[in-house]
């Protein structure tokens, strides 16, 4: 069984996000970069599948050289090798353009299963996996919280409103991983040492077989007009150091008379 994980590097959840002066992006200095937390579920699942069934695991990511560090985290956790997609032509790729690039790697690697995180915590779009599945002509399952691999197929659960769907799918398939699927392991010290020597293959425009106008900003269908700060929230009315009953009565009254919500 060969499992390929698509991973994205994102700012740490706790990072302060500042919009640049031209409103076209965020200030990237002083940001701590991490593997998107949902992708950790995908990495862990790939490793567990290999531990049980044997085979090979590969991690693929796209971005400047900065993203290799997060890829090494996946390698340190136990993924066998990596593919790093970057070319100046890739800059500004939207989800569809990104999926085209990743799909070119998947076609070359020919895995039995592609795992992604449910969404990357920067843009929270959850689009790339479905684009991948369509480009590859494969089935997809979004937000898997339970997975069992059987001969040539998989049974998985995904959360929906008011319950879970149980889905049976043939392989190959693209799945996205949700919280609850597993508990991602920490990279061990020997793992970190080993990861430094693991192969990371470079994948540029030439390897994709795509033309420059299919990727990057030129190939993107989503155009960012501007970044906007959060609207100012007027300071709240916070009650303290009073009798509980009086504070509760005040808030209930405000909910009815000021907020008009009850």
């Amino acid at each position: 069984m060969k499992v390929l994980v698509c991973m994205k590097q994102t700012p740490d959840t706790e990072a302060t996000i500042k919009i640049t002066a031209d409103k076209k992006g965020i200030e990237e200095q002083n940001i701590k970069w991490i593997m998107s937390p949902y992708d950790e579920f995908a990495v862990e699942q790939a490793i567990q599948i290999k531990e049980k069934l044997g085979g090979e695991t590969v991690v693929v990511t796209m971005g400047t050289d900065r993203v290799i560090e997060s890829m090494r985290t996946a390698l340190a956790m136990g993924i066998d090798r990596g593919v790093h997609c970057w070319d100046d032509a890739f800059a500004g790729s939207d989800a569809l353009a990104t999926a085209k690039i990743l799909a070119s790697v998947i076609k070359a690697e020919n895995p039995d299963l592609v795992l992604c995180g449910r969404q990357a915590i920067d843009f929270d779009q959850a689009q790339v996996p479905a684009y991948l599945a369509e480009l590859l002509g494969w089935p997809q399952v979004y937000a898997v919280c339970k997975l069992e691999i059987q001969e040539g197929k998989a049974i998985c659960n995904r959360r929906i409103e008011g319950g879970e769907e149980v889905i049976e799918t043939s392989l190959p398939c693209v799945m996205t991983c949700d919280k609850g699927l597993n508990e991602p392991r920490y990279a061990s010290l020997p793992g970190i040492m080993k990861a430094k020597k693991k192969e990371v293959k470079k994948w540029t425009l030439a390897e994709t077989g795509l033309s420059a106008d299919e990727v990057g900003e030129a190939g993107s269908k989503v155009k960012i007009i501007e970044y906007l700060p959060l609207p100012e929230r007027p300071p709240g009315k916070i009650f303290k150091e009073m009798e509980t009953e009086d504070m509760v009565k005040e808030v209930v009254k405000l909910l009815r008379e000021e907020a008009k919500i009850i």
Binding site: I17, P139, S220, V222, L230, K237, I238
Partner: protein, 327 residues
């Protein structure tokens, strides 16, 4: 020439989700500004009568894909059916709800049509005859405004962003669409749906939410939140800390690794307000926080707050709401 707006009217077991009616409302507003008709697409089994009921909510035409392979949701089956309906109707804008189904379906439809899309949007406006879409990014720490190249312009809309369309007189023309896929071409199939307890209000659709955090201290203590929720007709949520401590189930988690909610009223009890939690509830219209710790970050986001022991506050609040709602 593409014109008008089409919405995906999500149904399960012969009932539309609330977001379908919200989309008919915003869809009507956009169609009026852009010009062209408002249409809907319904996919399922035995859904023709259901589909025609959308005429009362402003849909002029309803495109229907009805058949055995569509009784339960599948990405491949529904995406093929919806993409065919879009090709037939040729709308300028196509909208879905950012529900579990919508999040799975919409990008696959976009991929089939070779266009881009915007996910989980919180504002849609027409500027110079084109859609401008605003959506939260970076865990809700800021927004981006985007536009889409190509036709149709596709967006999934966060549930509870717009009010539902009002019911009026009116009927819709039903148009049957060829799904363009057969049952054996659908490789990932839902074999069954395992339901949680019946009658619970779904968090992502709830207009009022009462949520508990680490400060609840035990699973048993959550009962007071369920009591409060019953009084005001709210759903009960929880923070990651409460879920990880075993006080609440995973399907109750609000936040980055849980659900994104968008209610009119969000009441947080014993929740400190970590960024992961804010990411899931920041767009709530009114936020109430109750916490013993006056330094808890949740108070910076709250419209109203009480610094006190929640176990003293909740019982009094239950009585006060009861009194108010009896008036």
């Amino acid at each position: 020439m593409a014109s008008g707006v089409m919405i995906f009217a999500e149904q399960r077991e012969g009932k539309f989700r609330k977001v379908a009616y919200e989309l008919l409302n915003i869809g009507r507003q956009l169609a009026d500004q852009l010009g062209g008709p408002l249409s809907a697409v319904v996919v399922g089994k035995g859904v023709k009568d259901l589909a025609s009921s959308l005429g009362k909510y402003g849909a002029e035409k309803v495109y229907v894909i009805d058949g055995d392979p569509f009784e339960l949701y599948s990405s491949q089956g529904y995406a093929s059916a919806v993409a065919n309906a879009i090709k037939q109707a040729d709308p300028a804008v196509f909208l879905t709800g950012a529900s579990a189904m919508g999040k799975d379906l919409t990008p696959r439809v976009s991929a089939k049509l070779g266009v881009g899309m915007a996910s989980d949007c919180t504002a849609l406006e027409v500027v110079d005859g084109k859609l401008q879409i605003t959506r939260p990014v970076y865990s809700g720490k800021c927004y981006i405004k985007v536009e889409l190249v190509g036709t149709p312009q596709i967006a999934s809309v966060r549930p509870n962003t717009y009010p539902v369309a009002e019911e009026k007189e009116g009927g819709a023309e039903i148009v049957e669409v060829d799904p363009g896929i057969s049952a054996d071409e659908i490789k990932a199939k839902v074999v069954r749906v395992e339901k949680a307890a019946e009658g619970k209000i779904e968090l992502t659709e709830a207009e009022r939410i009462v949520s508990g955090g680490r400060g609840m201290k035990s699973k048993e203590n959550f009962k007071i939140l369920f009591d409060l929720a019953d009084v005001i007709g709210a759903a009960v949520g929880a923070s990651r800390a409460a879920v990880d401590s075993g006080y609440a189930s995973q399907d109750m988690q609000v936040g980055q690794t849980g659900k994104v909610v968008n209610p009119n009223l969000y009441m947080a009890f014993g929740i400190s307000g970590a960024i992961q939690h804010l990411a899931g509830m920041r767009t709530s219209k009114v936020i109430v926080a109750v916490n013993k710790d006056p330094e808890a970050p949740i108070f910076q986001k709250a419209d109203y707050g009480i610094v006190d022991d929640l176990f003293k506050v909740v019982p009094i609040m239950i009585e006060e709401f009861k009194k108010l709602l009896q008036e």
